[in-house]
Subunit: 244 residues, 2 copies
């Protein structure tokens, strides 16, 4: 399934400080037949601002999951996951400051759309909240990590390192699996919920590309990347025994 | 002001795994005229469990403050403070595991009383929540740090190091000061709130001493410690321009 036609621009105008998008000169093209997202060279500040604000949202959602966890062992495991999202956020914030920009200022243009996204992916109960955290962070961490390859050489490796940190997903998986095992109805409800989440999440990825450097003139070039993101999403669903 | 008569035992029975309390042999007494809380030798597991669960609560309260922060700069600063409380929690949890105990299990006996404490100190709005975090973590971090001196030699220095980490209080102070400067009524409301918090917080400290090794037969010996905790509390109130 490829979610075509979800190219939107939520942000109205290009955020302040964004640079002119460009493709890498042909000479630098990697020796691969696969179309690669790293052909895109995202402008660092909008990229960092969106990734940082997204991780802050993951932290907030996981903190809410900690606060409403049904027992102390769950609380304990989720607090680790929340801490890891927060570490990513602070790592990205440090990169913004390193470029002499004020994090709150550069994140502000992206806050309304990402807040809206977080609201609509928060779910109606604790399990939907957990699945939302697992699937949205799974897909968008993956996306931002791929996009980071096109950042300038002084920042790309550090950002890749920040995003590569273990997201603490095991605890989410084990809680979800335990919940599903104990309640057959939960599986079908969560399968539907997972299918809803992927569409909204791909919209965020598209918007992030737009806002941090625009899509290439020939958008079909990046479709394989989205296909890979969706394949990884399907594997996450499969791992929970849910039909994607 | 010394809050006399607030010796309570909230926990009904001694939690499983607590060791027999004892005072240090006279030969080990420190060469100081000051009565020192380190004359008490708290049982490590109840001590660690209470301190760890308290820090988890601070993290949860600060996360709530992040979620309801009025702007991105506040959110950003408070997320750092939340991260530091979480780091303390995880550091203490690691010490529990190092002693081959399950954190969720050893924290459980203390959860009801500390949850209740967190509820009654959460306040009615964002500023009361911030003042609650600042004053309760200020007093109890100080308390647990002092009590840690009496832990066994294999754990005491690590715990002292964990608790000594900067609590990220500057951001709480600056937010509170800005709020107070912009609203004269807030100062008197927060002054009252601070006075209410100190009584409940000292009760927690007393209970923690009881549960992790009991108070000495002659309780007057530890009164100076409480006097010092209250003096530090008064300095925190003064720093905000509030009458303690």
């Amino acid at each position: 399934v490829f979610y075509a036609g979800c190219v939107v621009s939520w942000f109205g105008r290009r955020p302040p400080g964004s640079e002119v998008p460009r493709l890498k000169p042909r000479g630098e093209t990697r020796a691969t037949t696969k179309v690669d997202i790293s052909d895109l060279t995202p402008a660092p500040i909008p990229y960092l601002a969106q990734a940082a604000y997204f991780e802050l949202g993951v932290f907030e959602s996981l903190s809410a999951a900690v606060a409403t966890a049904p027992n102390l062992a769950s609380k304990e495991g989720l607090s680790l996951a929340a801490g890891r999202a927060l570490t990513k956020h602070h790592g990205l914030i440090a990169e913004i400051r390193r470029r002499d920009r004020e994090p709150a200022e550069v994140m502000a243009p992206f806050a309304p759309a990402l807040d809206h996204y977080r609201r609509i992916t928060a779910g109606n109960d604790w399990f939907e909240l957990l699945l939302g955290c697992y699937l949205t962070a799974g897909l968008l961490d993956d996306f931002f990590a791929r996009l980071s390859m096109g950042l300038p050489n002084d920042v790309a490796p550090r950002v890749a390192h920040i995003l590569a940190e273990d997201a603490g997903a095991e605890v989410l998986v084990s809680e979800l699996q335990a919940g599903i095992a104990g309640d057959p109805n939960l599986a079908s409800r969560l399968a539907m919920w997972g299918r809803r989440l992927v569409g909204d999440t791909l919209l965020v990825a598209r918007s992030a590309m737009h806002a941090s450097g625009d899509l290439p003139a020939d958008e079909s070039r990046i479709e394989p990347v989205f296909t890979e993101l969706i394949a990884a999403h399907t594997r996450r669903m499969d791992g929970l025994g849910l039909t994607a």
